[in-house]
């Protein structure tokens, strides 16, 4: 029975280890996608800002320019929100320039650990699921890495 207990303990340990590693891996993949999400949000905010200005212009045209005499209305044209968001995004990108390679290395390490433990100690239907989940996480991290650096190169070229 002692040997059996040790085997059960090992099986439960490896199963929990793999499950934890996969969850941490998902967190890393989401973290790697963050700068792209911020850039996307900045784009959306820019689009929103254009729509906002168009809306104001519609009011000006509808009032035949009379609304421009009002100082409060004119102040509505000055928006600093977009600049603040861009500055925040730039800060995040600066941070990710350092962190992105580390995220990739960590992701690769977790994938290898998951693969090794699953193939060596795992059995049953859960093994395949864990390997697939680990591969998706690694794929997302690689995609985020490529997009991030491609976008940086494009930014520096322009």
């Amino acid at each position: 029975m002692k040997n059996g207990e040790a085997l059960i303990g090992r099986a439960q340990f490896t199963e929990r280890l793999c499950a934890t590693v996969v969850r941490v891996h998902w967190l890393l993949a989401v973290a790697a996608l963050l700068p792209l999400v911020f850039q996307f949000l900045t784009g959306i905010a820019a689009l929103g800002s254009v729509l906002y200005l168009m809306f104001l212009l519609l009011f000006v045209i509808a009032s035949l320019g009379a609304l421009l005499l009002n100082e409060g209305f004119r102040a509505l044209f000055h928006s600093h929100g977009l600049d603040a968001m861009q500055a925040f995004t730039d800060q995040i990108i600066g941070f990710y320039k350092v962190v992105m390679p580390l995220l990739f290395l960590l992701s690769l390490l977790l994938f290898s650990l998951n693969l090794f433990v699953s193939l060596r100690c795992g059995s049953g239907s859960k093994v395949r699921g864990k390997i697939v989940a680990g591969s998706i996480c690694l794929g997302l991290t690689v995609l985020a890495l490529i997009l991030f650096y491609a976008w940086m190169l494009r930014g520096s070229a322009s």
Partner: protein, 164 residues
């Protein structure tokens, strides 16, 4: 012979040569016994809760740390049943046995079997009962309490450091 294990959870199966590899096909998880036709085979089915063991504190602490304050590690099962049963049957070429596991504790009279066998062959079930492990249940509750206390303490510490 194929022995399908329906909803086996974390039950381990032991054959003549030790732990058996769990295989998987379209019908579910199974183990393959490779005995000669007419040979008697015994499969041991063993299950124990993760927190039943002696080093449970270190085990829980390790996963609490690597799972970011326990948030990223799976929750410990509420079911603390302990199983140490066996199946005995005679090998038959191409024979199939299906065993369904139910997470029910044995009642005081020793009734309520956790294993239901579906088979055309004669299969004897020995000791197919889950015995409730009270200490694992208590440890699970303790883990929950201390885990949340530690999270709150860390959050308070972090806030204090930021404010300073």
């Amino acid at each position: 012979m194929k022995v399908y294990l329906i909803e086996k959870g974390d039950v381990q199966v032991f054959g003549r040569d030790g732990a058996m590899k769990i295989l998987c096909d379209g019908s579910g998880e199974y183990v393959e016994t490779r005995g000669q036709t007419g040979e008697q085979t015994k499969l041991r089915l063993v299950r124990e809760h993760e927190l039943s063991r002696r080093w449970w504190v270190w085990y829980a602490l390790f996963f609490w740390v690597i799972g970011f304050f326990g948030f990223l590690t799976p929750r410990y099962s509420k079911f603390t049943g302990k199983l140490d049963g066996a199946l005995r049957f005679t090998e038959k070429e191409g024979g199939v046995i299906k065993v369904r596991f139910a997470k029910v504790y044995a009642d005081k009279g020793g009734g309520t079997s956790a294993l239901t066998v579906f088979s055309e062959e004669d299969v004897a079930v020995e000791n197919g009962f889950y015995i409730s492990d009270k200490s694992a249940s208590r440890r699970r509750t303790l883990y929950g309490i201390f885990s949340w206390l530690a999270r709150v303490a860390f959050a308070a510490l972090l806030i204090a450091v930021i404010i300073k």
